[in-house]
């Protein structure tokens, strides 16, 4: 395992030093994140000012969902999206061969090779807002309350990862799949507000078809005590199921990989 840890450290070190060349862009990304988050909060604030409660979620509770969304979005931008992008580049350029020939799990490599600092502002903003929203709840969260959200949050992140990786795997056959990132972004965006706020049909879809509910709503609901263990167990089931399916799908894809011609 130390071999993987050492490799990961070098992967991320190399990615960061490659991106550090473009410092100005980082500032733009940070400004963009603040504006996006500000916009989301402003929309919410307008609704709540007029006494509207999203599916029975109070203002700080809804804010918590936005915070979790921002954090996951940051994770997606920092780790998931750049690596998904790299998979299709590897397939197109034929450099996937170099990955497959290394004595290291190819899925690990392709999931962690790149780290983009663009997502970092979102991660930081998300974390800050989680702490703030938690302190504004009717019963402010203690350390235990925050910690309770950690497991469903990690499971939500795993679900997001598995769906995206499975989609990126499609590039083995179709090569051009540049819209995967847009699709995943749109999917996660649905998790910006508490799922109970949506119409019943969407609620079902976002829980059982596209498991958005497990990414932001379940962690928030667990932290605030709105739901119990059942949903966390459900979250575990979804995450493990999708991870296993995604692994199987990847291996299946490799069997039909033909490698870009010379």
């Amino acid at each position: 395992m130390t071999r993987y840890a050492r490799t990961l450290r070098l992967f991320w070190g190399a990615s960061i030093s490659a991106e550090m060349e473009y410092r100005a862009n980082f500032v733009f990304a940070a400004v963009g994140s603040v504006l996006t988050l500000g916009g989301a909060l402003a929309t919410l604030a307008v609704l709540y000012q007029h006494g509207y409660e999203m599916g029975g979620w109070s203002w700080p509770e809804a804010m918590l969902v936005v915070a979790l969304y921002t954090l996951l979005d940051g994770f997606q931008r920092a780790v998931l999206a750049p690596n998904r992008q790299a998979i299709s580049e590897h397939v197109q350029q034929g450099t996937l061969d170099f990955v497959l020939i290394k004595p290291m799990d190819a899925q690990f490599w392709l999931s962690t090779r790149r780290l983009s600092i663009w997502g970092v502002p979102d991660v930081l903003l998300g974390l800050a807002l989680i702490v703030y929203a938690g302190s504004k709840l009717d019963t402010p969260l203690g350390v235990g309350g925050y910690a309770a959200g950690l497991i469903p949050l990690l499971l939500g992140a795993a679900t997001l990862y598995a769906l995206g990786y499975a989609l990126a795997t499609l590039t083995i056959w179709v090569t051009k799949a540049g819209n995967i990132t847009i699709a995943m972004q749109a999917l996660l965006e649905a998790g910006r507000y508490p799922v109970p706020a949506y119409a019943p049909l969407f609620r079902v879809a976002f829980t059982f078809v596209l498991p958005v509910a497990f990414m932001t709503t379940v962690p928030a609901a667990t932290m605030t005590g709105k739901t119990g263990l059942v949903w966390v167990i459900g979250s575990l089931g979804v995450a493990v199921g999708l991870l296993v399916a995604c692994r199987w799908f990847w291996r299946f894809a490799l069997r039909s990989y033909t490698s870009a011609s010379s």
Binding site: R6, A14, A18, G94, F98
Partner: protein, 352 residues
């Protein structure tokens, strides 16, 4: 026929190795596109047809053939990148397509047209990543990089971003990245592609040195005959997925060039018509003419030339290997395939 040392167990075995690809067949134009969209036509390409060969430990084998001959496909099967349609690939006792770490740790692949170096970063960063992946300790990796870089005459280039390097420097750095873990089996697909003569020479010298020091087996494809003549004692000639020849480099000339090259230096200039009776004119340049003469008529032709023409100098040599191989590929392989009893092309007729 094979020049391989028969005493040691082979490191690479291809046994009836076959690869069929299914490709979409599309007619040009809009109508063709529409038809293709509605009803896909597929065609099976037999990229590699039941080839058999082995590579012994420490042996450097040249894998020759025109574009599309099946060289790269065979290499991809031997490195475990793609699954054979039928037949067996074996490297160091492993089945490559299973991609066992124990095997992958001991082999490497260099492709002249693809690169593994990280583009925006100095090559040293890639070396470090590779060292971590292969579990080579940092200080040992540093030592190896230093040693290789010395042989390849690279130094401060390794701390510059890869995108700032010349093609030759980049390929040298690619080699370091590919050999840092001291692999036992090297698959080199056009490692000197596009390099200038100096860089080509450096790469060849380096590979020869590595082979001698580590006793590694090398399967090398190249379009530069100089690579082959400098490195390989044995060559495998493949075309249209079938092996045409497997044996010593010298044997290629013997088998496929039943003619010698006669160069005449004459007192005065002659026209082609006057010289055509002596042999096939390869080159006529002022008073020097280069002829290809059938081996069985060589003595009489030389005697006739010496008596009939004002010859100042006459040399007889084997034609250059490039020309022999070139002719071999150009002449169609039908009659040559017949000459080769070792081939079993019928075996290739296996469904994909």
């Amino acid at each position: 026929m094979s020049a391989s040392p028969a005493d040691a167990a082979p490191t690479v075995i291809a046994d009836g190795l076959t690869k069929h690809y299914q490709v979409a067949d599309k007619k040009p134009g809009l109508a063709g596109t529409l038809r293709h969209f509605v009803k896909r036509q597929h065609r099976v390409i037999e990229a590699v047809k039941a080839v058999n060969f082995t590579v012994a430990p420490g042996e450097i084998v040249g894998f020759l053939g025109p574009n599309g001959a099946g060289k790269t496909t065979a290499i991809k099967m031997l490195t475990g990148l793609i699954a054979p349609t039928s037949g067996k690939a074996e490297v160091l006792g492993f089945t490559p397509f299973e991609r066992k770490a124990a095997l992958l740790r001991q082999l490497t692949l260099v492709m002249g047209n693809k690169q593994q170096l990280m583009w925006d970063l100095p090559a040293l960063e890639t070396f470090r990543v590779n060292a971590a992946i292969y579990g080579v300790p940092d200080d040992e990796a540093d030592r190896r990089v230093k040693h290789f870089a010395g042989l390849l005459e690279l130094d401060k280039e390794l701390t510059q971003p890869v995108r700032k390097l010349s093609l030759g420097q980049r390929m040298k750095a690619e080699l370091i990245a590919a050999l840092l873990h001291h692999p036992k089996v090297l698959f080199l697909d056009e490692p000197t592609l596009g390099l200038d003569v100096n860089a080509q020479t450096a790469v060849r010298r380096f590979l020869k040195d590595y082979n001698a020091q580590h006793g590694a087996s090398v399967l090398l494809t190249s379009h530069y005959m100089a690579d082959v003549t400098a490195l390989c004692e044995r060559v495998i000639v493949i075309d249209k997925g079938t092996i045409l020849y497997d044996g010593t480099l010298a044997g290629v000339v013997e088998r496929f060039a039943p003619y010698r090259q006669v160069t005449l230096d004459l007192e005065r200039e002659f026209t082609e018509d006057e010289l055509i009776t002596y042999g096939e004119i390869e080159e006529l340049n002022g008073r020097t003419v280069r002829l290809l003469v059938q081996r069985d008529t060589l003595t009489t032709t030389v005697q006739r030339a010496l008596s009939d023409l004002p010859v100042r100098d006459l040399t007889v040599s084997d034609p250059p290997i490039e020309e022999v191989i070139g002719k071999l590929f150009a002449s169609g392989r039908d009659q040559q395939a017949e000459e080769l009893p070792q081939e079993k092309p019928e075996k290739a007729a296996v469904s994909p």
